[in-house]
Amino acid sequence: MEEQYYAMLHELQAVDFVLVELNLYLDTHPWDTMALQQFNEMAQKRQFLAAQFEQCYGPLLNFGHSASPHGWRWAMPPWPWQV
């Protein structure tokens, strides 16, 4: 795999991780409007990064949550444990 694959993936993993943390935090702090605002900002950023990644390396999500404009790349390697 090329270097760019790992770089783009890592960027997405970092933003997604912040979203996981904020999500669990908001589950017990639903009244924290600052955290909610940060969550929504990060959700937008992740959409942008995920779209960029999918453009280069194919769909991230199954069942139509990612479109597959360049042939059926979903079922093609590499799978996460192979890289």
Binding site: H10, A14, F17, V18, Y25, H29, M34
Partner: protein
């Protein structure tokens, strides 16, 4: 805060192995934080991923067994 505690186990006169005099156990910050207050300082996204939490107040380093 120091995230480890130490105790000294009893050393019996007939213990067959050379004694480990101090035993260390982990006391991570979730034991002390209480209900997390809003607005705590955060790591940036890459640090957070690397360390496994968004908040320094919940970060618990594990350097490996001391003994």
């Amino acid at each position: 805060m120091n995230q480890f505690r130490v105790y000294c186990p009893f050393i019996g006169p007939f213990d067959p192995c050379p004694p480990i005099r101090e035993k260390v156990y982990s006391t991570p910050p979730n034991l002390f934080l209480g209900f997390q207050p809003p607005g705590l300082p955060q790591f940036n996204a890459h640090e957070a991923l690397k360390l496994g939490t968004l908040w320094p107040a919940l970060y618990s380093p594990y350097p490996g067994k001391q003994t």
